[in-house]
């Protein structure tokens, strides 16, 4: 029986201790925001936080989470549902295309900004190069991280929708 904290709530799961966190949260906890991309920790789509640190949940056994805190994309926004600065910047900069990798990108970016509130381009490149985006949104992610960290102004929407 695996026992850990999932997005702030204590959970118990009767799963094979070798099962990756990815499949435990998707199939057992019913939280599909964390995505399967490669299964070998090479693409970052499955990134979650384990005690605040970004890990590749496809290659991290649920036994590793024992007694620790797992945070997924579903646990990033505030308790009242308010989006985080990173999520807001992702909207203002219109980052996602297909959106499939973006949960992982946001988890990586959130961890980066926690450790480094004003990252340079080089810092961003280093922290984010484990996350592949096949739609090619890298330049927008870089910009959104700068917006989230207050280094750039958000893009103005010429219609004002969703602002």
């Amino acid at each position: 029986m695996a026992k850990f904290i999932l997005n702030g709530e204590p959970v118990e799961m009767d799963v094979d201790p070798a099962m990756p966190i990815l499949w435990a949260v998707r199939e057992k906890a019913g939280l599909p925001g964390t995505k399967f991309g490669c299964g070998i920790a090479a693409c970052g789509a499955c990134t979650v936080h384990l005690d605040g640190q970004p890990v590749r949940s496809c290659s991290t056994a649920i036994s590793e989470a024992e007694g620790r805190e797992v945070t997924t994309i579903e646990g990033v926004s505030g308790p009242d549902g308010e989006l985080s600065a990173v999520q807001k910047a992702w909207i203002s900069e219109q980052v996602p295309q297909c959106g499939y990798c973006q949960s992982g990108q946001i988890m990586s970016a959130t961890a980066l900004l926690r450790d480094n509130p004003a990252p340079t381009d080089a810092d961003i490149d280093e922290a984010m190069s484990g996350n592949i985006c096949r739609c090619g949104t890298y330049t927008r992610i870089r910009r959104a991280i700068k917006v989230a960290s207050g280094q750039l102004e958000p893009r103005a929407d010429d219609i004002g929708q969703e602002a």
Binding site: M19, I40, A41, A42, E64
Partner: protein, 157 residues
Amino acid sequence: MRNNALLAAGLLTAMLAACGSSEPAPVVEQIVVREPGAPAANATMEQSAETAGEVDLVSLGMDAFQACAGCHNADEGGPNMAGPNLYGVVGRKAGGVESYSYSDALAGSDITWDAASLDRFLANPSGYVPGTDMVAGAVRDGERRAAIVAYLASTSE
């Protein structure tokens, strides 16, 4: 002008459909192990180990190794995957599988894998060998690590 591929594909489907459907392909072999929701007939390793009243470290390790199996195969003659085949890894020099392309860091290290070095590496791969391509798969729990190492060591015997 020729039709676009997408449309051509669509038209082809329409024509095939118009030719009348063929019989669906039969299932060649269907092994039913159990029904969904039914309890497993085969006892898990954990249960059998408990029943036996002793801990078979190699068996436990084989089970725990499933967490590594996304990237590594440990069968004799098994393939390299994202990571190298680990059959007989104990006693082997790091970077020693010729058919696998290692990171410079691991290829250039002078580690020869034994229980102690594998344990250190598994606890924190990039801490032990900075620059390794193994960016995930660290095993924090010492007992699980010991079991995995015991299993891997058993393939060298």
